[in-house]
């Protein structure tokens, strides 16, 4: 027989749990109070005014012939957006390979911190900042967008590539070396087949992200649908904005579906 009275057992941590819970809740309530009083987070107009405005965004565009007439133009911009994302991702996905190898501990060795440092530095910037820099450097237009997207893709893909490379089976590498293969042969026959499916899968995933981000790069003049979007918004023609948003959502969804499907088969 155990010494414990199992009918009256209590979790000894119970009291502590409730104290922690109360403290965290109070802390969050205080933060919320500060946020609302120190900044004007409250709605600037009443719900009754917002309703008709949202209707202008998401309902009216579908029934206005003058908006319908602009749909082909919008699709043109969207195609440019998708093309910017494609060019940027492709360039980034290829340039990320050498950086990823350098950053991988099992390839770069003592020098892998250089690759990792470069990748961390790149990832610290959001795309829109790169876009601003490149618009200033190479002028307005899609080329600036492509550069911004590709640099940013290197940041993420390089890190993911490096992780893939670090997880490969090194026994196969030493096996191939033991047959007298040269370094380049080991790379082509031992490393590439092990990493290629993951590399392509990550590049596709990155493409999904890049289509989304290239939609907004136009806001700073880097080409794509972002430019007419911000223009229409500034003119307060919300029906146009609504239609463009709809086209963006539609395209992004279709691309996500296709890419997810391909990625499932890759790995």
């Amino acid at each position: 027989m155990s010494q414990l009275d199992i009918n009256n057992m209590k979790n000894p941590k119970r009291a502590k749990y409730w104290w922690t819970f109360a403290a965290v809740t109070a802390f969050m309530a205080i933060l919320y109070y500060i946020a609302f009083t120190e900044t004007r987070l409250g709605a600037q107009r009443s719900i009754w005014e917002s309703g008709p405005l949202l209707q202008r965004f998401f309902w009216d565009p579908f029934f206005m012939p003058e908006i319908h007439a602009k749909i082909p133009d919008y699709f043109g911009y969207m195609i440019e957006t998708v093309a910017i994302a494609y060019a940027g991702t492709l360039m980034g996905a290829i340039l990320a390979i050498p950086v990823g190898f350098l950053a991988a501990q099992n390839v770069g060795g003592h020098f892998s911190f250089i690759g990792k440092g470069v990748l961390n530095a790149v990832r610290a910037f959001p795309e829109i900042l790169f876009a601003i820099i490149f618009v200033a450097a190479v002028g307005m237009g899609p080329f600036a967008g492509v550069l911004a997207i590709s640099i940013n893709s290197i940041g993420m893909l390089g890190k993911l590539y490096a992780e893939v490379i670090e997880s490969i089976d090194m026994e196969i590498i030493s096996t191939l070396k033991a047959t007298g293969a040269s370094k380049l042969q080991v790379l082509v026959y031992g490393v590439i087949p092990q990493v290629l499916p993951e590399f392509s899968s990550y590049a596709l995933y990155r493409y999904e992200i890049d289509v989304r981000s290239s939609s907004v790069l136009g806001i700073v003049g880097a080409g794509g649908i972002g430019a007419p979007l911000i223009l229409a918004a500034n003119n307060r023609s919300f029906e146009e904005v609504g239609m463009m948003l709809f086209i963006i959502v539609l395209t992004v969804t279709v691309i996500d579906l296709i890419s997810t499907n391909i990625r499932k088969r890759l790995v």
């Binding site: 089976d169 096996t175 033991a178 007298g180 040269s182 042969q185 031992g190 087949p193 499916p197």
Partner: protein
């Protein structure tokens, strides 16, 4: 001919893998190295092709001290040594044939091999190697589609395709079931006899060692504690090598010969 002269190997962490090994392995011999795990079997076999490099002594192969080789010389020397591993070490996503052709990499120019431009003879040789281990029909299947025994045969075919003078096998049957173990050992034995390729094989199963070896070398704590023809070996010999009584686990079990 492989000659170990006072070969020692100390790992960077201070562990002594091999202690003053003196051995001579003649061409065409089928040598089985036995010992408990950690006795230095892997270290001994891997020091022959310098996957690990001995820190002391001389390791002569056909009269040349291989420990003095430059990187380039070492690479061309390794072409002639096939190696087989417990885990097969195949590139799982590549086809069987591509895995077997990897055995020709040392003989093929880097540029040609990058574009998979193997000569017609090399492809024929690879297919022939697969045929010799009985799985030529699997040539265009991905390696990860095969069973363990089939994958080990692919790795034997890869070694054969190197046209080696010597094959090293590090626990080649440790991951296989008893019938497959016997089949793989028979393949190795047959290749040894037909091509006169020297075989150095690590095993821990006593019955397999006694059945297939010409000569048995026993290791304990990095030292050679037994060296003699397989015919002179009894279970008592193994108890001496292992330093403990034989257990059920030390045997693979006999399988009726098909």
């Amino acid at each position: 001919m492989i000659q170990f002269r006072n070969v020692s190997l100390t790992y960077p962490n201070g562990h002594k893998g091999l202690k003053n090994i003196n051995l001579e392995i003649k061409d065409g011999e089928f040598v089985v190295i036995v010992g408990l795990s950690g006795a230095g079997k892997s270290t001994l076999i891997r020091s022959i092709n310098q996957m690990v490099k001995p820190t002391d002594g001389e390791l002569l192969i056909d009269g040349e001290n291989t420990l003095k080789f430059s990187d380039r010389r070492l690479r061309s020397f390794r072409r002639n040594i096939g190696m087989i591993f417990q885990n097969y070490n195949l590139v799982k996503r590549s086809s069987v044939l591509r895995n077997v052709l990897a055995g020709r990499l040392g003989h093929t120019g880097t540029l040609r091999s990058i574009f998979s431009l193997f000569s017609q003879e090399d492809v024929k040789l690879a297919l022939n190697s697969l045929d010799r281990v009985g799985i030529a029909e699997k040539a265009y299947i991905r390696a990860d589609q095969l069973s363990g025994g089939q994958q080990q045969r692919v790795s034997i075919a890869r070694a054969l395709t190197q046209k080696p003078k010597l094959i090293l096998a590090d626990e080649p049957v440790a991951s296989l079931d008893p019938p497959t173990s016997h089949a793989v050992m028979k393949d190795l034995k047959r290749i040894n006899k037909e091509d006169n390729i020297t075989m150095v094989v690590n095993l821990h199963a006593i019955d397999l060692s006694m059945q297939y070896a010409d000569r048995i070398i026993g290791l304990r704590n990095g030292e050679v504690v037994f060296d003699g023809p397989a015919s002179s070996v009894s279970e008592q010999t193994f108890e001496d090598i292992y330093g403990r009584p034989i257990k059920e686990d030390d045997l693979v079990g006999d399988v009726s010969n098909e």
